[in-house]
């Protein structure tokens, strides 16, 4: 490659390791891997081919990937690949591990890929293979966490067979780990020679390199199975001697069998019956050879065995060429770039080691799982740079809290974990957790502002072998968080059952969304003056296949946590708008029927909310000013809510504050935000019409607040005629509740509206509407 320094390929490989190492799942690693490989080689096409299938590719229109051609090209059975829009492309292929997977790259033109480029691609393939392997293990581990114990056992079984099949890969990754752990080069090379000896059933193995001081001779660097008297490490032979020497000169793999071997072989002893030798490369130049020999009679090396030798030789090349750079790069891949702490992969590695080497019962490892409370708020309100600054400082404080031998890691986002190398028991783990908590309680200074955060911490101390201590700590952390922020919880098996229940609910919810198990009931909103229906409030219900019909309070929190609130919310809004638009069209009259729909916290935070509302309104044909979006007081106090509310307001919707009086609204907020309606909470209505003297000051105050700010007031939960009358006297114009009508499904509401709304006579009729069973008083 003209004009480019020798360091080019190590830089590219470093970059590749960094990028691919940051991927969270196999699909992303493959996708990023082929993109980076294509970018590094300035190629148009890249693909991963395995088991006769194209797992991922770029360069072809997504609808028109020439699978058959790519498979042929990956098997090096096509001289060139024709790429639409580019023309004929030259192809280079590298193997992905030992299971037949291949990484293919193709580039426009006739000029072949240089040897340096092919080496780079092989390096990338190796990195990708190792990344995929570790992600696979991680994915399996994640699966174990999500599914129950039974499934866990099955998966573990699966993993074991997988591991057995991948003995070679294991061996190679052990070599790579020895490179990563900064083992001495001699040790690494010795590991390579030992691995080749074991997996290739070799009676003799040698690794010889050209002597840099005397390029005419080779030095023996590592050896197995040869007489140490005759073949001491460091002994020399003329370059060109034996199969090793010929391999160096020929720069390719050589194999000899039978008498031919006996007559000419010196590299691994004259008594071998078969030998093969693969070149070892440094910075693109062949500098040595890895040779194996067998004394079994009629030993024939198969194609697969030749490939295994090449793989070991490549690792020797890697150890020589890139050890330092690769070392640094892998170090980066195993650490969190932002905080410099170990990442999840390295943490798991340490954990595995700690668990395996557990000693006395009073010196067991323990895991603290930390999740910052309120980090998202900092990130959202002060920006990502501030969030990053905060995370770096948190990492610094955690590092100061731990003891030598402990490991603090960042798992991504605001999740951290600490591995306590040896604790006497839960008490000691607890006291370290308290130390962590108190160090985090001191205010942080981020972008010259003081920021306070807390952490929820879960602790798990394994009591026996085979426990998933990280999962347990994670579960305990969730419990701590659920119990209120800034707490510590220690794992007990009951938590696991709770988690499974919650996961069950999550799965049910996801299915509920897919199978459309949600439906709406509507409660009329009535003029207290005339009794006429002026609008309806849409209320969400879930027809659960086994638990019956559920109101939102039993699933809303989970829907919010899982994000399922968004599809559910959109569907609710769409159904309600479609129903209401139909009623507006069929009933007619002025003013048109109002529709109130409840919004949840996360819906309000969703930046796409306004666009969603706009789309649904235009789809349904509902008049925008007749839509009332109800939010709670807590959401009102949320800064994010302010922005969203203005956008909704500009768009023409009305905003109502639900359950007003039960939260902590400040009047200042009320006057500053675009509110149209207050909905008086039921407790204030309950006290009315009892005949007691002090029954109405709070209800009166709410009506007065509303009127003085120019807001409409709707009283909720009216159950008796006296309450309606009393509210009317206080100046409240609208109300809803069982006294007028219970929530009912769309057909019944449609019929009610078609019959002319709710004059006094109709109001009585509405009260007799078949109530939806199980509704709590609205």
């Amino acid at each position: 490659m003209p004009g480019i320094g020798e360091s080019w390929s190590t830089q590219q490989l470093t970059e590749f390791v960094t990028m691919v190492g940051a991927c969270q799942d196999e699909e992303a690693a493959i996708r990023d891997g082929i993109e980076r490989a294509a970018e590094a080689l300035e190629a148009e096409v890249a693909a991963v081919i395995r088991d006769g299938d194209v797992l991922a590719s770029i360069g072809f229109p997504v609808s028109d990937v020439p699978v058959a051609k790519l498979i042929l090209a990956a098997g090096e059975e096509l001289p060139a690949l024709d790429v639409p829009g580019v023309g004929s492309c030259v192809v280079v292929v590298a193997e992905l591990g030992d299971d037949g997977g291949r990484l293919l790259v193709a580039r426009h033109g006739q000029e072949c890929f240089s040897r340096q480029e092919a080496n780079l691609l092989r390096g990338m393939a190796r990195v990708l293979t190792l990344t995929l392997q570790s992600l696979h293990t991680l994915a399996a581990e994640r699966l174990l966490r999500i599914q129950g114990e039974r499934q866990a056992q099955e998966n573990a079984e699966l993993l074991r067979t997988l591991r057995e099949r991948q003995a070679l890969l294991e061996r190679l990754s052990r070599i790579q780990r020895s490179i990563v752990r900064r083992a001495k080069l001699e040790t690494v090379l010795d590991t390579i020679v030992a691995g080749a000896s074991e997996l290739l059933r070799a009676d003799a193995v040698s690794l010889r390199m050209i002597d840099p001081q005397d390029p005419g001779s080779m030095v023996l660097l590592a050896v197995r199975g040869l007489d140490p008297e005759r073949f001491p490490v460091g002994s020399r032979a003329p370059l060109g001697d034996g199969i090793a020497g010929r391999t160096i000169l020929a720069e390719s793999l050589l194999v000899v069998h039978g008498d031919h071997a006996k007559a000419r072989e010196v590299s691994v002893g004259r008594d071998v019956t078969g030998a093969m030798s693969a070149p070892v490369v440094e910075n693109g130049r062949v500098v040595g050879a890895l040779t194996v020999g067998s004394r079994e009679s009629d030993r024939i090396y198969t194609d697969t065995e030749q490939e295994v030798l090449l793989a070991f030789a490549e690792h020797a090349s890697l150890a020589l060429t890139d050890s330092k750079n690769f070392d640094a790069a892998v170090h980066r891949a195993l650490h969190d770039l932002l905080t410099g702490l170990p990442n999840r992969a390295l943490f798991l590695d340490h954990l595995e080691e700690a668990v395996t080497h557990t000693g006395a019962p009073d010196a067991r490892p323990a895991v603290l799982f930390l999740d910052l409370d309120g980090f998202k708020r900092v990130n959202d309100s002060m920006g990502h740079a501030a969030g990053d600054e905060l995370l770096i400082e948190v990492a610094r404080r955690l590092t100061r809290c731990i003891r030598p031998g402990d490991t603090a890691a960042r798992f991504g986002g605001d999740e951290f974990a600490i591995l306590l190398d040896a604790v006497a028991g839960e008490d000691e783990a607890n006291s370290i957790a308290e130390r962590v908590m108190s160090s985090l309680r001191k205010p942080f200074v981020v972008q010259s502002k003081e920021v306070a955060i807390t952490a929820s911490v879960g602790i798990a101390v394994p009591s026996g072998p085979g426990e998933d201590v990280l999962r347990d700590a994670d579960i305990a952390m969730y419990h701590a968080k659920a119990a209120g922020k800034g707490r510590v919880a220690t794992f007990d098996p009951g938590m696991h059952t709770d988690l499974l229940e919650r996961l069950g609910l999550e799965a049910d919810l996801a299915r509920g969304v897919t199978d459309d198990e949600f439906f709406l009931v509507y409660q009329p909103i009535v003029s207290l003056e005339s009794g006429a229906v002026v609008g309806v409030e849409a209320l969400l219900r879930w027809r659960h296949p086994t638990r019956g019909v559920l109101a939102p309070d039993s699933f809303l929190a989970t829907a919010e946590e899982t994000g399922l609130i968004h599809p559910i919310g959109r569907r609710t809004l769409r159904h309600a708008c479609t129903d209401a638009a139909r009623w507006q069209a069929s009933v007619g009259g002025a003013p048109p029927l109002l529709l109130a729909v409840n919004l949840s916290v996360n819906q309000l935070r969703n930046p796409d909310l306004v666009a969603d509302v706009a789309g649904i309104l235009s789809e349904s044909g509902l008049q925008r000013e007749t839509l009332i979006l109800e939010i709670t007081e807590t959401m009102l106090m949320d800064d994010l809510g302010g922005q969203a509310l203005w956008r909704l307001k500009e768009f023409g919707a009305q905003i109502a504050v639900d359950d007003f009086g039960t939260g902590f609204s400040s009047l200042q907020y009320l006057s500053r935000l675009p509110i149209d309606i207050l909905k008086m909470a039921k407790p204030f209505v309950d006290g009315l019409g009892t005949g007691r003297r002090d029954e109405s000051p709070l209800a009166r105050a709410i009506v007065d607040v509303g009127h003085s700010l120019g807001l409409e007031v709707i009283a909720e939960g009216i159950e008796r005629e006296e309450q309606a009358a009393h509210l009317h006297r206080l100046g409240c114009r609208l109300g809803q509740g069982y006294f007028f009508a219970r929530p009912a499904e769309a057909d019944a509401i449609g019929a009610l509206l078609a019959a002319g709304g709710m004059t006094e006579a109709r109001a009585r009729g509405a009260r007799e509407l078949q109530p939806w069973r199980g509704t709590s008083s609205a």
């Binding site: 970059e15 996708r31 300035e42 360069g59 072809f60 997504v62 790429v83």
Partner: protein, 395 residues
């Protein structure tokens, strides 16, 4: 108001209308009326100042066109056949049965530029392949790593369809840019149009910068920031290599003005470099900010340019674009020209530049804008450029 148009015997036409009227309704109507010089318009491409009331502007254009598919964006200056301008509107129309087009837009949700690029590229499937086909992309350059948009689009269309376009501007206010799609004014979005022609289409990409001094190694970078070069504070290394005047060493605004003329070039295999605009510097931590990723571990050069080198690149980009037309005359050309090049050339220089572009197309109409980043993917899959001129010639 002005207009130029060319029509071929193959019944394809390309026309550009321009208006500097202050009222967005008048400006939109005038520019659209001038551009819609033929029947059967297939696509409108609108470049306009962010200072206009864009809703009104689009209303006027759409009223005039009767709803021809439209994409567009706000700019840091518009380019039309008769020269560059500011605070105006340039409408380009492509029409006749020899052209087909389909358009799409996507909001950049959760900073996922890749997904937005992929979504927009979906419109290529609806645009039948003819003699030549390109995907025009107009994006919000303030939204993050734009190479991700290119990667996303490439993952859908592959090498079959070249990607070309630019990042919307806001007259260097660097606050908010707009993207236009049919009757909608979008922010934080990608808009795209797949365009097929019975004729050929050619793309030229040149920057006109030259390397200064020794290469540097990017030793720490993340999230579009470079923290260290050669293991030292990036800003210190920048100062040492380029020796900027005293005010650029102290004042962030002066630094940005200086940096406009002194970008970073990233090493590529072919030895050519991808130019990256140094957007700002953090004087506290000594890091440099970019609008695209600068990969850690890569080699880079500091670069400089002058009027002559920049104009030489203009000629070369036009020559390259026309060479791909295989002898046909262009019907018209789009120019996506980096705002930084405008900074070097000055007002007289950019007028001369556009004159050169118009001359090289043999009098065919030209439209375009001054961008915050340019897109041109023709070879390999990297296609995001900075401080570069991208010319798309359409036949």
């Amino acid at each position: 108001m002005s207009a130029t148009s060319i029509e071929t015997e193959q019944r394809r036409w390309f026309a550009v209308g321009q208006s500097n009227a202050r009222d967005p309704r008048i400006a939109g109507d005038e520019a659209a009326a001038a551009a819609l010089s033929g029947d059967d318009a297939q696509l409108l491409v609108v470049f306009c100042s962010h200072t206009h009331d864009l809703e009104r502007l689009l209303e006027a254009i759409n009223r005039r066109s009767g709803g021809v598919p439209l994409i567009g964006c706000s700019t840091a200056g518009e380019i039309a056949t008769h020269g560059p301008g500011d605070a105006g509107v340039v409408v380009t129309a492509l029409g006749g049965p020899g052209f087909s087009a389909s358009t799409a837009s996507a909001h950049i949700a959760a900073d996922d530029l890749r997904a937005a690029g992929a979504e927009v590229a979906g419109c290529v499937a609806a645009c039948p392949e003819r003699g030549g086909r390109v995907l025009l992309l107009l994006t919000d350059g303030l939204a993050g790593d734009q190479q991700e948009v290119v990667r996303g689009a490439y993952s859908v269309v592959g090498a079959s369809t070249p990607l070309v376009g630019g990042c919307a501007g806001d007259d260097l206010e660097m606050r908010l840019t707009y993207q236009l799609h049919n009757d909608r004014v979008l922010t934080h979005a990608v808009v795209g149009a797949a365009l097929s022609s019975d004729g050929a289409m050619g793309i030229g990409v040149r920057h006109g910068w030259r390397r200064v001094g020794e290469p540097v190694l990017v030793t720490r970078s993340a999230n579009n920031r470079v923290y260290t070069l050669n293991d030292r504070r990036a800003l210190d290394v920048y100062f040492e290599h380029l020796d900027p005047p005293a005010d650029a060493r102290r004042d962030p605004a002066a630094f940005t003005r200086y940096a406009l003329r002194h970008p970073l070039g990233l090493q590529r295999r072919s030895g050519e470099e991808h130019v990256r605009f140094v957007g700002e510097a953090d004087f506290e931590d000594g890091s440099l900010g970019f609008i695209a990723e600068v990969p850690q571990g890569g080699l880079a050069w500091f670069m400089e340019g002058d009027e002559d080198s920049v104009l030489a690149a203009t000629d070369a980009a036009c020559t390259d674009a026309l060479a791909s037309l295989q002898g046909s005359s262009p019907l018209g050309a789009f120019a996506f020209d980096c705002i930084a090049r405008r900074g070097i050339l000055g007002d007289a220089g950019i007028a001369a530049e556009i004159e050169r572009v118009a001359k090289s197309t043999g009098g065919a109409p030209v439209s375009g804008f001054y961008t915050y980043g340019e897109i041109a993917r023709t070879r390999g899959q990297s296609g995001f450029h900075n401080q570069t001129l991208v010319v798309l010639a359409v036949a």
